[in-house]
Symmetry: C2
Subunit: 556 residues, 2 copies
Amino acid sequence: MATDLEIARAATLQPIGAIAAKAGIPEEALIPFGRHKAKVESGFVQAQAGRPRGRLVLVTGISPTAAGEGKTTTTIGLGDALNALGTRTMICLREPSLGPCFGVKGGATGGGRAQVAPMEDINLHFTGDFHAITAANNLLSAMVDNHLYWGNGLGIDPRRVTWRRAMDMNDRNLRNMVLGLGGAAQGVPREDGFDITVASEVMAIFCLARDLADLQARLGRIIVGQTRDGRSITARDLKADGAMAALLRDALQPNLVQTLEGSPALVHGGPFANIAHGCNSVMATTLGLSLAEVVVTEAGFGADLGAEKFLDIKCPSAGLSPDLGVVVATVRALKMHGGVAKSALGAEDVGAVERGVVNLIRHVENMRKFGLPVLVALNRFTTDTAAEIEAVRHAMARTGAEAFLCTHWGEGAAGAADLARAVRRLLDQGHAQYRPLYDSSLPLAEKLRTIAREIYHAAEVQIPPAVAARLKRFEEMGFGHVPVCVAKTQYSFSADPTRMGAPEGHVLPVREARLSAGAGFVVAVCGDIMTMPGLPRHPAAESIGLDAEGRIEGLF
Amino acid sequence: MATDLEIARAATLQPIGAIAAKAGIPEEALIPFGRHKAKVESGFVQAQAGRPRGRLVLVTGISPTAAGEGKTTTTIGLGDALNALGTRTMICLREPSLGPCFGVKGGATGGGRAQVAPMEDINLHFTGDFHAITAANNLLSAMVDNHLYWGNGLGIDPRRVTWRRAMDMNDRNLRNMVLGLGGAAQGVPREDGFDITVASEVMAIFCLARDLADLQARLGRIIVGQTRDGRSITARDLKADGAMAALLRDALQPNLVQTLEGSPALVHGGPFANIAHGCNSVMATTLGLSLAEVVVTEAGFGADLGAEKFLDIKCPSAGLSPDLGVVVATVRALKMHGGVAKSALGAEDVGAVERGVVNLIRHVENMRKFGLPVLVALNRFTTDTAAEIEAVRHAMARTGAEAFLCTHWGEGAAGAADLARAVRRLLDQGHAQYRPLYDSSLPLAEKLRTIAREIYHAAEVQIPPAVAARLKRFEEMGFGHVPVCVAKTQYSFSADPTRMGAPEGHVLPVREARLSAGAGFVVAVCGDIMTMPGLPRHPAAESIGLDAEGRIEGLF
């Protein structure tokens, strides 16, 4: 069987101008980066703002397992299939992070016949957006420390600087450090650390900004730390917001690429789905909606984290109104939710499917709480048996959500045609009545309790007094109206990654609350959240290199 | 008077394809980055390698002063003037570093009517080369620490890791740190620090590599540290060279832009001129020579540092044979070398010119030791008086090197026409007999003494026993044949920045010797060399921002 890389290399890509023309983007609005990538000029994006909007389809998934579900692949396959049926469709994806490419995982550009291209470029530097975000993050850090160095006129407490540095690299040694060492001329000693760039608040801001002015305003609101008497110091106090916006100006323009089947795709922004909201940029999604009849986009992790944040954070902030949810599942992953070990997935086990399907059912039911019609995409593997597939279909029929077998990985658009036809039918029926899960006027703690009750099916939320006091403090500071972004394990509805399926009656322990004042949400940290990954014993980087023709090998 | 930014904005740039056509680069070899920047495909660069070569003109300068000399501006003005005279000329410059843009200095794209454009792009992210270099540098760091974390099979001594991390930012707080804190799961505690990206050995390697294979071979030779028993550990030992080369693959292709007068310019690479060799990339220079009748390029700092390294490090390594040297001076700077304070430069002072011109004369005589004919470009300021200019001309006449008054800053190509005609005349005479200052077979200490004696006019070189032992060790390791790269102050021929003019009989104290095994030189550190700058009390970043049309303000 051909690898993703072989399939991608065998494909003949169209000039990016032809893809743009297909998408309704004029040549003069295109900023080419080579022959197969381009940015779309912000002037054009702004001019499109008032245009009639297409329908918005969110692709999300069951709670992820080691078996893999294929959410990005399904997003691409569905987009290709809709285009093949004659529905003008734009695919909106997140940009992959460079760091993890050198660790264990491959790229994040889909797979099989459902890929965006050119995959090497997109997975590495692409158009430089993440580098710009890293630079903006670290300029702010340099200005914080420079302020401390030159007399600290604002009275920042060096022990209370919360703004961390960023790097797009998996590098555990950067997690915790003492810097500014070497004497009075070399800086101000204090504790600090680096997060991976996708975990930076600048990334979240970048993805939520409606335009350049909104970007700069949000950057200015970033809180870098506190004074001894608890006053918050912002990026604007340090006069860093203008230079940060200048560094991000070009990056904020959405990136256009194509799928292997020639569908246009906007790949732009990529925040973490735990301490941030985990969706591609508002700029790209709104551009797509202004151009296409349908936009297909995805959210990170499972629907409890990714879709909830898409629907409670991104959509209200950007004024988006989604029309349909598609939940991706595989028989293999459902069997794991039913208690089968990864090594035993080869054997048929209908009982395990029946036990594990409760995870899928709950995600489907959760999506309906946002007023969305829901479909299920069953991403087929060759090992799936007819009886196992039937078990999923049977279970879904009882929920009223149809499940469609998808084979876009091996067959491209044709493999997602049934799903695409169902998507068109549901969109034509127009039954969506999108509403966020909670009202913005609810107290922060109540918002958190609502998510835990309605989405996680938790019996209780444990908020320690110190965290409760912080939430109150955020409300006093004028941030009571913002949504709550829950950072918890993606492997379970609960905070315990080993509780698969559809656990109930569990306790959600909140360890910490952080205010992302620029992004405009409060992060409730529930469990260990890693914001700087490490490399494995034998990192993928060891086998990455160039072949005799200078092509990159070993990346995927 | 119009500012550099106003002049740049008023200019109408040509499509980069038109510039490429003028330079002899076919459309299909061009990788566009927007409308006014492009990379030239490495396949084309390689195919050109056997083509007849143009002549190579090096623009260098007197010992720099606070008055400014205008070396980049003169390189651009001379290139424009040669093109205007009908000599097909390519300008080869270094890329500016992003970090310093937020500190005190403006950009590094020339000035007045002698600029390369688009200046905002070139000064900020440009085509992402420096970001790629930063990523490659830091991937190696991550792999070093990851190796320590997973059992340290190679036996690296964590106290003897010499490979530092890099960031393209002025950030003094990153100079010295202890990282890897937080317990066994968080890394391996050790001392480390960040250098600014231009100081990374990856940058020097990038600029000296002849092609991708040479790049990867050099990356593999990088020494990251030692074992307890003194064995060197390389990037290849860590299997990092392939992934680093993959990160740099696209960046290694030279960047094409234009001057405000429409001359083609290759702006590519930008290593420090103290701990590295301070010239643009070999890839760009050789590409330029394969395309143009004349290539005009520049070296960093004054001729004692920049030109010496160009002629003793870059040219031998790349097999280049330069044809002419141009030394840039200003009346103002010569007056400072003659003892006048910057605040008193407004008043005529012929005596100071006569005293200070010794600095210029020595640089001219030094250049001749490499077998090069030399011209002087006197970059005119409006405050220069006729008597002062005559004093320079008179002094130079005695040396046999003609001095030409240049006004390209205000007048563009026309202002450097006399200089350009003289350049053509000398190139036609073909008297150059380039030779490096020393033979590669000399012992390292002897190479250093030769530079100190012949170029700096030092009476003595102080090499402490520990440094002498290190030089011996480098020779035993097989690096005796490499050139020596001296890191010392650029403000004086001596190691004392306050000794202006043409000091003699001084002592050059060598503090440290470092082996840059990948770049292929030994660095002799003479004095305090800063590899991570800081920001001033009021950094330029505070006044950088976007105007109502989203254009960048305050950067220059």
